[in-house]
Symmetry: D2
Subunit: 399 residues, 4 copies
Amino acid sequence: MKAVLAFSGGLDTSVAIRILQEKYDCDVITVTVDVGQPKASIKEAEIKAKKLGVIKHYTIDAKAEFTREFLFPAIKANATYEGYPLGTALARPLIAVKTIEVAGKENAEAIAHGCTGKGNDQFRFEFTIRTKAPGLKIIAPIRDLNLTRKEEIEYAKEKGIPIQVDLNKPFSVDENLWSRSIEGGILEDPAIRPKETIYEWTISAEKAPDKPKIIEIKFERGVPVSLDGKKMAPVELIQVLRALAGKHGIGRIDIIENRIIGLKAREVYEAPAALTLITAHKQLESLVLTKDELKFKEVVDSTWSELTYKGLWFDPFKEDLDAYINKTQERVTGETTIKLFKGALLSLARSSPFALYAPEVVSFDVKSFDQREVAGMLKFHGFQAQLFESKRKKLKSKP
Amino acid sequence: MKAVLAFSGGLDTSVAIRILQEKYDCDVITVTVDVGQPKASIKEAEIKAKKLGVIKHYTIDAKAEFTREFLFPAIKANATYEGYPLGTALARPLIAVKTIEVAGKENAEAIAHGCTGKGNDQFRFEFTIRTKAPGLKIIAPIRDLNLTRKEEIEYAKEKGIPIQVDLNKPFSVDENLWSRSIEGGILEDPAIRPKETIYEWTISAEKAPDKPKIIEIKFERGVPVSLDGKKMAPVELIQVLRALAGKHGIGRIDIIENRIIGLKAREVYEAPAALTLITAHKQLESLVLTKDELKFKEVVDSTWSELTYKGLWFDPFKEDLDAYINKTQERVTGETTIKLFKGALLSLARSSPFALYAPEVVSFDVKSFDQREVAGMLKFHGFQAQLFESKRKKLKSKP
Amino acid sequence: MKAVLAFSGGLDTSVAIRILQEKYDCDVITVTVDVGQPKASIKEAEIKAKKLGVIKHYTIDAKAEFTREFLFPAIKANATYEGYPLGTALARPLIAVKTIEVAGKENAEAIAHGCTGKGNDQFRFEFTIRTKAPGLKIIAPIRDLNLTRKEEIEYAKEKGIPIQVDLNKPFSVDENLWSRSIEGGILEDPAIRPKETIYEWTISAEKAPDKPKIIEIKFERGVPVSLDGKKMAPVELIQVLRALAGKHGIGRIDIIENRIIGLKAREVYEAPAALTLITAHKQLESLVLTKDELKFKEVVDSTWSELTYKGLWFDPFKEDLDAYINKTQERVTGETTIKLFKGALLSLARSSPFALYAPEVVSFDVKSFDQREVAGMLKFHGFQAQLFESKRKKLKSKP
Amino acid sequence: MKAVLAFSGGLDTSVAIRILQEKYDCDVITVTVDVGQPKASIKEAEIKAKKLGVIKHYTIDAKAEFTREFLFPAIKANATYEGYPLGTALARPLIAVKTIEVAGKENAEAIAHGCTGKGNDQFRFEFTIRTKAPGLKIIAPIRDLNLTRKEEIEYAKEKGIPIQVDLNKPFSVDENLWSRSIEGGILEDPAIRPKETIYEWTISAEKAPDKPKIIEIKFERGVPVSLDGKKMAPVELIQVLRALAGKHGIGRIDIIENRIIGLKAREVYEAPAALTLITAHKQLESLVLTKDELKFKEVVDSTWSELTYKGLWFDPFKEDLDAYINKTQERVTGETTIKLFKGALLSLARSSPFALYAPEVVSFDVKSFDQREVAGMLKFHGFQAQLFESKRKKLKSKP
């Protein structure tokens, strides 16, 4: 049987190649999708794949598509799930789609992934495969054999699978353009303070520059188009901003997260560009959307984010939510000024041609409307509550 | 007619005294409620009241009641409205109630306030008065005469009313234990960056100490009881934390806010203790409440906050929301560790006897559950979306 | 001054003509917009307008536009506000727009309406005018003179204004294609049972035919296109269905409604076609939309309905909600079978090419999935609640 | 091993006894919990249990507890899930708890249930057992052996298990005080019209009495206490009302339901008392709760209902929701008048000492408030939308 494996080059997927070959009797084709992880890791995956005897290896650069089709919608949705800007969750459907495409081209009968049975990624991969390629068999070798990490390491040693297990880094990392996730081991205990060494994208606030950086981000119809007046292509803008904000200590996230199957775990992320862009985007929205639009969009955004976290990217419900979001974004055009300094992100100013700001009415100093006209409104403010209180009093005073 | 005026000592209420005396022919009694504003301003109000010929002046210390009955419920509700932790909104109902009590004691026929017709406070004062003392007449002299700030200043000069109008500070300030609001004038324009000089409670991040401060806050049933292991009375805890967090540059808020009558305006606040306590409280909640409880509580909290913003503190609806919130808070007991550094607030750790954290299940390294059992769940993940896609394909492929 | 008055021919607007002429010194142009009210009443309005000396009268047939642009979106949104299908609320923005168009054509400076200061319609008219024609002056003669109904009747008699005030019908009626509203007088008391004589569109259930009528309604993309297999134009379909359902006693509504300014009142409506179509439409949606889509659409629908009730038809927020709704309606195609009988409406069957119904999985009698696969899912069902209970027990058992 | 089986006497649980004995080598104890199912069926269960050689059989009358602790909270929550008033879902947690109690008394090691792997009940039973008795083993014999109904019938014949399988009734029925569920077989197809013969609690509308019945239900703090002025005990009130409303053809429900694992199926229910009481209860709420309370309670009620549907009765989240609901119900005291006639339920009148109805303000005929005072409010109605439109126009007209 020919099986296409979504291959990161890490422990799980490396072990998976050998299991697929030996236990499932598969010819394995590997696919590494470049969504912004380090170049070295992509190269390493190629080398490892060959060494492990795959019949073919694909490296697919999907950075531009990832940014345009996944990260930009996430910005429009101010997407965070319990504080996490969803980097890994956003990449999984795209990796699955690219792997399915290879399976089609190669006439493979199965798709394989290296996810364990405890995590979120199995849900994201398999939903996409079941929805987009219901005819393909799905193989999850690590889960099927119920392997723990320790058992995987032993298996790798036994089978001569090259792995890099740094005993000083007993946690797993997933990295793409949008965020870097660090999870597992001691980190999962909510009561432990994470060590400085786990961070790579963000400098500690203490070591960040002593001079703040003030930046201006321009948005058009909800997506960023320029930084400090300089137009940039989507991928570039995110890469530049990630480096810049990370340098100022921006982007560390340390939260308790509710995973899909209902477990709570501490999760640590680095997401300098994501946090900066979402903060800037929200500021602009607060200027151009009406109060009702903003309030309802919070609900839509949070629903969108949970759907994405669960990997239900290709659910028709997401198309409905996108329709709402896209309609609101038609006016989200303008500029926001943000201060980056030693781990703190502060909005300083924002402007837009669509700003719903009426200086001629709002100020205390102008006389454009007669204050007396508001008096009537006040009588009806909380009218039913006033009525309630009078009834309550009457009923209480009865003998 | 005898009228009791809620008196802050500022421009609006000082002018109001004289108008009440001259245009409404009132004997004026003034009430200054101490909710944590500067002592000097309370003293000044007393002196001014006498000077302006009121027949009696009351100073009422309500700090403990304000903390226990208003700020602590706000912590339980993680209360913010569009980013604003509601300091002024929380104080208004209490000030109104205290003023009503004086009116009762003094057999006054009217209650007066100095609010203009553009702001939020008129709604908060008048709703409380109409609900709690429907028999009392309400007088709003500034609004009734449709005065602008400029006209008020002229009137004050003409009538010899002592006012402190610092031409370098063309904005109005409201201050209590929970927050300091700075609004008006040029600040209202969302595109202008506020000057450093408007801040008094928070040092600029640049000038904050070069060493971070790590603090531990202990909560019992949703409210803070100790700081760094030291038990503190509610008022003291907030005052100490306000100074500490403010010293590290924590607590600046710069937002576009939707006022009650629907105007948007830039608002600037300082709220060091409020932001720190709400962050710490949320962290603890994320550890002890179930995912469903957390998600729904976000809706309850945001509804609670909007109700409070609108001044509908004594609405029966708030009692309903409080019932939900209080039930959840029974378990919000434990400790959170927070890092304060140059304007940035970072959660580092949290623990609780009620933590819904199951290390024996969550870790990749243990074998307490058989991963294969999850396989079945995966088939039904997004089942209807899978079905939808297959129908869509079938229909598309029809001739 | 030239003023264009939205003219129904009833008491309020007839009195308004004379006041506009005498107190406001206006040349009055009247506009009667045909949204499906009785033909006799349209004719009567024309005659009355001339008799009262207006300089010009317009009758505008807007039935097709009303159905297509207002009623069909309302069906897609399953629009009801507290049980009321919004007939009057849907007509007001259209009447206002048509009146504005006449004002433009006639170079009028003002638009007038006959609404009192207690009802909902003033909000609906004036919001549309302020939004669509901010340059026009708005005149509300009845409200400006603070007239009660009794005073209006006296004024009409005094001024020789022809009015039909049936002393046996001390309530006001508003009627269009979608619903007939009956309100006012004794009816407003929630404790009074309305008399049979107030109803005109619906027969009493007792007198309805003894044989049930089973109908089949076909929808395409969310809107009805045929009845019992017969294609019909939108207006015709609604008129036919209104008569048919009304004949079977369907469509009476008797509710407590919260008006815009916050007053509660009993309201009585007749809406045979509206209730039947919304019931049928919901049935079809329950078959083709996913569970998540349905649940969220309930929130969207209810928000849409409240917005429409408040007259905020031309709010950008409604465009956002419409985007969501329209996306979901792409699949709402199919047929529903409804039984009409003596006041009761019962869904009997529904079918659609997009039905998310999987007979091969759902039935107890087939073996297409292995039941054992569900066992794993069960362990995680309410997992956090299980954990909570075990913690609670442990803590309780402590000394 | 000693196992306690929740025993209804039907096919699934009868087959389960024998499997438990033969395949699991169990001593079986059976428990039949009386939640209002027919007396004959309880008697039959007793006889069958003995015949099948259980070591002990318990019949536990839980009708009063079921009504007080489950049905009354459901009334307060206006509990329906997609139109279904939740009878079976409400009974399952109670049956599980009673079965657990027997297991404790009898020192059993296991609890067994007869649910298949496709339905909802397995989730409801097992969650309660895992939460309330985590030490007990759970056995689900039908699911474990992956039996279809056909296979069960064959097994029963082979093993001499007495079963009543009426070939004319190829559907399964579950019945208790609150509702009667009819599901399975041909009924699951949404396009098929159910036959009249499936109904037992409700007469067809055509055969219902030709004279309507008007009833008055009195509620105290959210729960019904008397019918037509006659005080009744909770169980009696529900039984009397079920018979009465059923006689008038009230209570048939025919819907598409989304089951817990995500399958859609047509479900048919009869629930005469449930629908009547919920309708009456809602009417009363609409009179005494404020608009905001009502709107938010809809969300709470729907969340409560979904939680109950999923069997998460003992989730701490439900306790939170109950706290909200119970607070609102303090005022839900009063009377509602309902008309029952040939399948139609119509509210006619409602009254309460807490009614938020202000006749002195609402009527067109009184002059208690000056209509002109509302004029100011109108200017701010939809203010941001007005502003938006003016911006849009300006931007459009730019070259």
